[in-house]
Amino acid sequence: MGWFKRLKEGIQTATKNKKEAPDGLWYHCKECKEAVTMKELRTNFFKCPKCDIHVRIGSHDYFDLLFDGKFEIHFDEILSADPLEFKDVKTYPDRLIAAKKKTSLSDAICVATGKIKKKPIVIAAMDFSFIGGSMGSVVGERISRAIDLAIETRTPFMIISKSGGARMMEASYSLMQMAKTSVKLSQLAKAGIPYFSFLTDPTTGGVTASFAMLGDLNFAEPNALIAFAGPRVVKETIKKDLPEGFQRSEFLLEHGFLDFIVDRSDLKDKLGELLVLFDESGVKQASIAP
């Protein structure tokens, strides 16, 4: 029994603020309870070296892992407003300020362009640390613009999903982002640009029920929670214990909703391969074939 209780699980700080963190700091794995140094964790793709669990990481961590060096951030000038003047126990603007302070992020998704194994790609990656990775107008708009950018530049598009679902403080606007992102993806599909949906722990609610399930390819990290209704809601509904492994990546693969599961350490190589297979010249040929 420790003296201190861990209040928040997972890594909460954005990578860009964490680079200074001394490599000697310890990370305590919530699965196997083993302690490893931050350096060990980072060099092991943020997977616990002892039990291989994929620790939740942020958009910038993925960008660092995937891009060949440099990448460019887009659309971070688009920020949340408070259209409904929403107030529960806190006001929405207060929640936004707190989230920005805690994470140094501007919202729950970050769009970047760069190259993976010399192949250009547009990536929109979600941050669970920002209000549970919830989808509001900003998430919808940044995805929408990322899709426009992918169409204009004829570049493959990927979304890294990591979300608790809708941003309740934007109520109906939040709900409509499901429609917004889906109609935009229908345009991307029409333009013949490949869309990879990469689902990470956790991907639930309105995000799963829109862009996360609409990939030309859907793939996930191992053991990620992927659901429409979260396990707690399902359990309350059916009043029974849930089967082992329910709503995990392996379960979704088995039931036919994922193309494959990829370990984080293989992700860059796998994407490099896919980008070659879906190369623009190939895409063009496909679109003129009868």
Partner: protein, 322 residues
């Protein structure tokens, strides 16, 4: 008649009216004047109650046990309606109904969630909570409509897509996502109405219309007030606050521009005069269909995509300060 809590003053008056009518029916005394007077009082009181409904009261009305449901509307609006069953993949979902029929000579495909009218039927209809096969049936019927150029009408009335084990196994999320994706490019007009409850993904899964309208006493949002209260306030007691905060009424949704208009209900709610409600809805549908069917297909799809691509409120910094 079932009276909601805020309608209790009316219940007393209605009881009186019944008694007086009974006396009249028994003979001797002429009660005509008394009946007329009392009916006037009822109408006046009803107007008072119904002109200032709170969002939570509207939510309650949207769930009124006597409220007309999808098949009631379909049977009163359509002629020669044939219900079409099954998703051709797994089974027939009883919580989602649909079929083909005629509205004054125009063949249409109508789809909607269906609630049950008594305990047994409520279970049979799974309380209007569709499983993935329901959404897939809806899509199959929309594709049928597309092939033959029939407009699609969807009637939304659900407390949510069903959150069960099998629903998750069969891909509830994928089924809803697929509908959104396919509806975006559907080559025929889609006209959607929230006729009762419009809860979250379960509602929008058939709700991506060229035009979307709400009946006066309905709600449409990302979550029910009860569940919103549980998540944000951490208990069930703030459903009234949540109903206010979510801006989920037809009025609020029209103000934000997310829905295109409001369909009036008879005074006292759709359930007080269901046949009249059907007539009002039919008139509305016919007018909208006439307009939508004039729009060339390419333009229709373009407008639909623009409509949804433009929903969202955000700030945009002039220079990159981050």
């Amino acid at each position: 008649m079932v009276f909601l809590e805020f309608e209790k003053p009316l219940e007393v008056l209605y009881e009186k009216l019944e008694k007086i009518k009974q006396v009249g029916a028994d003979g001797e005394i002429d009660v005509t004047d008394m009946v007329v007077n009392l009916e006037k009082r009822i109408a006046k009181r009803q107007k008072e109650i119904f002109t200032n409904l709170t969002p939570w009261q509207r939510v309650q009305l949207s769930r009124h046990p006597d409220r007309p449901y999808t098949l009631f509307y379909i049977n009163h609006i359509c002629k020669k309606f044939t219900e079409l069953h099954g998703d051709r993949k797994f089974k027939d979902d009883k919580a989602m109904v649909g079929g083909i029929g005629s509205i004054d000579g125009q063949t249409v495909v109508i789809i909607g969630q269906q609630k049950g009218t008594d305990t047994k039927m409520r279970q049979f209809r799974n309380f209007g909570m569709a499983n993935p096969e329901g959404y897939r049936k809806a899509l199959r019927l929309m594709k049928l409509a597309e092939r033959f150029g029939f407009p699609v009408i969807t009637l939304i009335d659900t407390p949510g897509a069903f959150p069960g084990i099998e629903a998750e196994e069969r891909g509830q999320a994928e089924a809803i996502a697929r509908n959104l994706f396919e509806m975006a490019q559907l080559k025929v007009p889609i006209l959607s109405y929230v006729i009762g409850e419009g809860a979250s993904g379960g509602a929008i899964g058939i709700g991506l219309g060229d035009r979307v309208f709400m009946l006066e006493n309905t709600w449409y949002s990302v979550i029910s007030p009860e569940n919103c209260s549980t998540i944000l306030w951490r208990n069930w007691d703030h459903k009234i606050d949540a109903a206010d905060a979510l801006k989920l009424t037809a009025n609020d949704m029209f103000k934000t521009g997310i829905v295109d208009g409001i369909v009036k209900e008879p005074m006292g709610g759709a359930h007080t005069k269901p046949e009249e409600m059907c007539k009002m809805l039919k008139r509305h549908i016919k007018k909208q269909l006439n307009e939508l069917m004039e729009i060339p297909t390419e333009q229709l799809i373009e407008q639909r995509i623009d409509k949804y691509a433009n929903i969202g409120v955000y700030e945009q910094l002039e220079t990159k300060e981050l």
